[in-house]
Symmetry: C2
Subunit: 285 residues, 2 copies
């Protein structure tokens, strides 16, 4: 009798774990919401940006409104510095430029004991902890109960003047080693999830000392900026992103720290730079 | 009498400091040695690489020999991963590939109390100290008396198999967030000092899941790899590099940590990432 119960329980347990395992598998990737995804078309290729309304609601709201109104179509990348940022927006002082509302900075946010993220590292150079939430790179200072999106390559943030609350529509995409000193004093509101090679191919506008300046007519234009949901179905790029909240992602992180591949004949320190830790993208089949 | 001596001494001191000041000014930049500088010509532009024989003598010796023999001319960048590296070399298993001598790794080196570098940061994620020597980014563990060139964007290093002493001629240039976990287990032997935008425009060979693979015929070739000293005078690119041993550079570092510009309405932590700290290049007038 006792044995039968054990067998019954064991088989119940097996079917549960089988189900759990299937569930588990299917959740390793999440499909991007076309209403929170932007398609930037450049002369040389496409770029897909996932917006982050959960972290920077007002900036995303304004960016979507501007995108839908065609504000960015034909704008140029006018400040492009290799290893730093590609910045673009409407012509300074133009009607389009002056018509945009001024935004309040959304540089960091308060966390409480219920707040959770996938931690990958303690004692980062610029944060007490780093990790990911919803695929976005995060810095977190537990002592302050504050967290923020970090300036990793590929993040998109609003440019501003000297005042914290002075961002409008001019934005930059980080194209080089993470300028983490800008964390918390700028508003990051999304990240490039596809086509970073096309961001890297945007014409640099800054010349070095002694070099001829770049002609403005050679600046890279934005052919168009569209919400993915407004793109005709057959031209949409449908993507899935690794689910950084899934146990499979945490397992990858643990493995990555160990560097068990035979290539590592001598083990590096078991440390991860949040900006050098991949969150993969794939095409929806 | 006493006063006259003071005046004489003062005027002597003034002329000395004037001289010292001029000397100081002229040493803020150093001119690249054409015998240690490489010109890589890509279909879309030029790249200049400064070699580091002072850190990786055997690798530089072999790289110069190969460059002079035309080994790299027509080679392709066959492993190009956005945000990681652009790797190139001869076709695997070709006569050229098999003819190259195997190198002993030069991943780090011993320092003593007389060894000096321009320190910029303590307690970096991957090193006890970081800084620069001769314009190259350096990691240093005082406790071990070992230092090394760090994997910042733009450094060139030799690829290898699983064995430490297995590098030949295949090399990579870091094109994304510094993969510092490769520090000390790879041999960095130079860095890009001009044309990093052209490195960034090398065709990526890696496709994401669900994407069509990149056709091998689209891989970016190296039109030529030449020692700058072998390039006809009128086609040479003559560059100067900020002298990281000069007090002006140290002063820039101190200033950079302080972030006194009005843009920083809230000061970031006074921390520098060695891979996000610029060493400028300019054209020789």
């Amino acid at each position: 009798m006792k044995l039968k119960i054990i067998i019954a329980l064991a088989s119940l347990w097996l079917s549960f774990t089988a189900l759990a395992h299937d569930k588990h598998k299917s959740d390793e990737w999440r499909t991007l919401d076309a209403n929170k995804t932007v398609l930037l078309t450049l002369p040389h290729g496409k770029v897909v940006i996932e917006l982050a309304p959960q972290f920077s609601p007002k900036h995303v709201e304004q960016f979507i409104k501007l995108t839908k109104s065609g504000h960015y179509d034909g704008n140029k990348f006018y400040r492009v510095i290799d290893g730093f940022v590609a910045q673009g927006g409407p012509e300074d002082g133009s009607t389009a430029d002056k018509s945009v509302s001024i935004l309040k900075i959304e540089g960091d946010f308060t966390t409480d004991e219920n707040w959770h993220f996938t931690k990958i590292q303690d004692n980062d150079l610029f944060a007490e902890q780093t990790g990911f939430k919803d695929g976005f790179p995060i810095g977190h200072n537990l002592s302050e109960k504050r967290a923020w999106l970090t300036h990793c390559p590929g993040v998109i943030a609003m440019a501003r003047g000297n005042e914290p609350d002075s961002g409008t529509s001019h934005f930059y995409i980080v194209n080089g080693q993470a300028p983490r000193y800008l964390d918390r004093i700028m508003t990051i509101f999304g990240r490039v999830v596809y086509g970073m090679n096309n961001v890297q191919a945007i014409t640099r506008t800054s010349a070095i000392e002694g070099e001829a300046p770049v002609d403005k007519k050679d600046y890279t234009p934005m052919i168009s900026m569209q919400m993915m949901s407004d793109v005709p179905k057959e031209q949409q790029i449908l993507l899935q992103i690794e689910n950084t909240e899934h146990s499979a992602y945490s397992e990858m992180i643990v493995k990555r720290k160990k560097r068990e591949n035979a290539f590592f004949y001598k083990k590096p320190p078991p440390i991860l730079d949040v900006c050098q830790t991949p969150v993969k993208t794939r095409f929806v089949k």
